[in-house]
Each structure stands twice: as C-alpha cells, then as structure tokens.
C-alpha cells in the first residue's frame, strides 16, 4: 500500500478533506475487445464521505466505469486509486474489500441459501474469523433492518427486502466506498424511501449510478454526468437538474410533474 501514488485532484483540495480521496481516476480509458471505446479519458475524484450520483443515458459507460473501481476491468490507459491504493493485480483483493458494489439485480448478488450466509460470504472471503463474522453479519443486517430475516432464503423476501439484504452483503465487508447500481429500480415508493433512509444514515463515501433523478437529488449533493465514455458535467446535483438543456442533450429527463425545488 503506498499513499504516494494517490494524486490529490482539484476536487479534493476544493472540499479540503484530509488524506487521499476515496476514489481517484486519472485519464481512465477502456475499449471493449471489439474496439468500441467505452471510457474515454475519465478524470474523477471523490473525497471521503462524499455522496455522488453518476448519471447518463443507457450505454454511456456507467457500469463499465463502476467495474473499474474494484479492478474487475483494468483500464487500457490511465489509473485508478482507492483511498490512495492504486488498483493493480497485487492490490485487487484489498481494493475489493474497500469498494463494495451493490449490483442492480439482487438475484445476481444473493446466491447463498440463507440471508445470513450471504451476508457472511464477503467478510469470510476477506479472512474475518468465525466469532467476529457473526457479529459483522448481525451488525450489517441490523443496519438495513433485516435482522429478523437472517435465516430465511433470499427467494422468499420481497423486492425491497432483497435490495436491503444485497446492501448488507456489502456493508458487512466494511467498505470505504459504496457503489450502488440503480438502487431504486423495481422498488415500490415505500421501499424506495426506506432504502434512502438507510443510505443517508451510513456516512460512507458513495457513488450511485441511477436514472432516478429525484433519488439522485435526495441522496447526492454532487452529480457527474457521463455520455459516450466522457464526463460531460460535474457539479451540484441541484444545479445540473435545473439545466434543462444539459439534461436534454444527454437523454436525461425529470419525471412528469417533477420540478427541482
């Protein structure tokens, strides 16, 4: 682990956080095997404790960007550092502990026979021992208010409950950075609000990929708009959502009847 290779980007200095930023991307470029350029020189710095929404149309490169954060994809050019640790072959394990990704479909994430085992899967992989493991599981399940369902099969839970369990499976690894892919999709309004309450209470650095602009406004003070593999806007969510022209250019749209307050 070297703190030296963590650059301090302009955004960090702006916010004035101490230590290296939670997420630092520098000139990240990635092309799929067919030559399609998915990411084209992404520079992004997220300070510790910041909550950032990643917005953009389908196929803009949002998911590709997310998979770079924990070393599942490796950039063709540029570099990625998490909390000062450069993502490389020999650091990928520690990076995956530090970056918790909650995937869009909880059925992809929850694969163990019971909720508690699924929540234990991550920390067990990262070497947390038996006694501590049970405490971690209970703590994570309590955070998302799912403790009483610990021994049930994920199959028998509602969509909102599954989403919260999927979040718990990542929280139990105690990540420094929480990445959420479309957290509000397929949730009823109550489940959507309950999830927001859980997320607002966490205090970890958060990057939220979403098409749900009101959700971005509610949860993330800052937003980044990405289109065709480039960052096209980065600023306070309220200001970006008020820029009708910007939204239209990048196929973003507020829901009918919604006006940013």
């Amino acid at each position: 682990m070297t703190a030296a290779d963590a650059g301090t980007g302009p955004a960090t200095e702006l916010i004035g956080a101490a230590g290296p930023p939670s997420v630092h991307l520098e000139g990240v470029t990635y092309a799929y095997p067919d030559g399609h350029l998915a990411l084209d020189g992404i520079d992004l710095t997220i300070a510790r404790g910041e909550r950032v929404a990643l917005l953009g149309p389908n196929g803009a490169g949002k998911t590709t960007l997310v998979l770079h954060l924990n070393g599942i994809l490796v950039p063709r050019r540029g570099r990625v550092a998490i909390d000062g640790l450069a993502v490389a072959r020999d650091t990928v394990r520690e990076v995956r502990r530090r970056v918790g990704i909650v995937f869009q479909d909880p059925d992809d994430q929850l694969f163990m026979p019971t909720v508690a085992e699924d929540v234990a899967f991550g920390p067990a992989n990262f070497g947390v021992a038996a006694g501590e493991l049970a405490a971690r599981v209970d703590e994570a399940l309590a955070t998302v208010d799912m403790l009483e369902h610990r021994d049930r099969s994920p199959l028998h839970l509602s969509g909102g409950q599954r989403r919260r369990v999927a979040l718990a499976t990542v929280l139990s690894c105690r990540p420094e950075v929480l990445v959420l892919d479309e957290p509000s999709s397929n949730l009823d309004p109550v489940a959507r609000r309950e999830l927001a309450e859980v997320l607002l209470g966490l205090g970890t650095t958060m990057l939220m990929v979403t098409h749900d602009l009101p959700y971005a406004l509610q949860l993330c003070p800052r937003s980044v708009v990405i289109d065709e593999g480039r960052i096209v806007a980065d600023g306070p969510t309220r200001e970006l959502l008020a820029d009708a022209d910007l939204l239209r250019r990048h196929r973003l749209e507020l829901p009918f009847g919604f006006a940013p307050p």
């Binding site: 599942i72 026979p113 992989n125 199959l155």
Partner: protein
C-alpha cells in the same frame, strides 16, 4: 418449489437423527448402501433385516412410513425394467399363473428391486432428516472438490430463480395466444428454452462478477462453527454396524 429450508424431500424436525452433523449422516448412508449392495441376492431374510434397521431410524426421526413410501415412488420407472427381466431371461423357467418365467430373470429382478428400494429408502432418510444446505456443508467437510460444492450451492439457489424465469416466459407466451398443445407450436417452446439458456448463462456471468466483487477466490468459505465430535460418529455408525453384521450373515448363510 421452495429453496433451502422447504424442500419436498425434507421433513423438518429436531430428533437425534436430524441433529446429527450432515457429513456423519452422508458417510453412514453411503456405508449402509454399500452393505446392501454387497449382500448376496439369495439372502432373503437379511434384506428384511435392513428394512427393520431403516424402520428403526424412521421411528427415532419421527418419519411416518407412509410419508416415506409416497416419496419412494421415484423408483417406479426403474422397476419397469426389473419387471421385464423374468419374461426375457434365460432358462430354466418356472410356470406361474400360466406365465413362463425365467428363474435367473426372477432372481435378477428381485436383486434390482430390493437393493434399489433399500438404496432409495436410505437416500430418502438422509434427505428427510438433513436440509439441503447442510448436505452441502457436509460434502464440504468431507473434502468434496471445492468446485462441486460451489456448483451445487449455486444450483440450489438458482434452480428456483430460473424456474421462476421460465414460468414468467411461459406466461408471456400463452398471454400472446401461444398454445403448446399443438405440435407445430412446439417450436416456440423450444426457442423459449434456448433463450432461457442464454439468459441463465448471462445471469451466471453477472453472479460471477458479484461474487468476485466480494472477494471470491474459488472456494466457498466455511461458515458453520459447529464441531463434529466422535460421539456423533459413534451414534451414526450404530445402524451401519447392524447393517454390516447383516451383510456378513448374508454371506455366511448362502
């Protein structure tokens, strides 16, 4: 339907048999079946003895024999084959109700029938008293290859997810007037199965990504902290010892 804790072959309970660690029961069931298989087919009373041992285990585990008998019907398709043997087997033949039956064929059929039935009943006893996920844990503790345990764990979870997906696809098809009763409409069902395969494959890739993100390195972590003691082994080996004694008796008396 149902995953993990609500399987049709499982009868939840808290009996001493239920409480035994899964790996102990797997080994006991395996050895029990080995005893049955090596018993000479002419040792008729010995097979009754095996059934008594099983009945004893059911009594302790609180499994009604009727519950067991209904599930043993899985065996029926294999019995059909056994029924053919006496009709098609070689000489010498015996006359029975006007039928000419082959004597070696009859013995062969009896051999398949009795050993198959006892094997099925033993497996059912194991399944009835052990939740599926405990069976996996047992296999893992018995040092089954990690890849087998991983695949089975994933199957256990995703069989239901894929079944639900297939159900949704079927509903969508019949909602659009598809009626697979007609032979010429079977093509749509076949294509449905094809796309289900592709979808499952894609899901497999997504699941793999999600597992990698949580630090998966090719091995399922051992999550249970319960210890298996020599006492557990002794308890489970008691019926196996009786079965072994029966097998030896079978060899000595025929």
């Amino acid at each position: 339907m149902g995953a993990g804790h609500s399987h049709p072959l499982h009868l939840p309970g808290t009996s001493p048999v239920h409480r035994l660690p899964a790996e102990v029961k797997i080994v006991a069931a395996f050895l029990g079946v080995v005893c049955v298989v090596v018993t000479p087919r002419e040792a008729f009373p010995v097979f009754a003895g095996y059934l008594l041992v099983l009945a004893g285990v059911w009594a302790i585990a609180g499994i009604p024999p009727g519950w067991m008998a209904r599930r043993a019907l899985i065996e029926a398709p294999f019995v059909v084959l056994a029924v053919l043997l006496p009709l098609t087997g070689p000489d010498p033949r015996v006359e029975w109700l006007g039928l000419s039956l082959s004597e070696p064929g009859l013995l062969g059929a009896w051999n398949i029938l009795v050993k198959g039935t006892l094997g099925v009943l033993t497996s059912l006893t194991l399944a009835a008293t052990t939740p599926l996920r405990d069976l996996l844990l047992g296999l893992q503790r018995l040092r089954a290859p990690a890849i087998v345990v991983t695949i089975t764990t994933l199957m256990l979870r995703y069989a239901d997810v894929i079944a639900a997906e297939a159900r949704r696809m079927r509903l969508a098809r019949i909602s659009r007037g598809h009626d697979p009763r007609f032979l010429w409409q079977a093509g749509a069902t076949a294509r449905g199965i094809g796309s289900l395969f592709v979808r499952s494959y894609e899901r497999g890739e997504r699941v793999h990504l999600a597992m990698l993100s949580r630090g998966w390195a090719g091995r399922m972590p051992q999550l249970s902290t319960d210890r298996t003691t020599p006492r557990h082994w002794l308890t489970a080996m008691a019926p196996v010892a009786v079965a072994a004694a029966l097998a030896v008796t079978g060899w000595l008396t025929t």
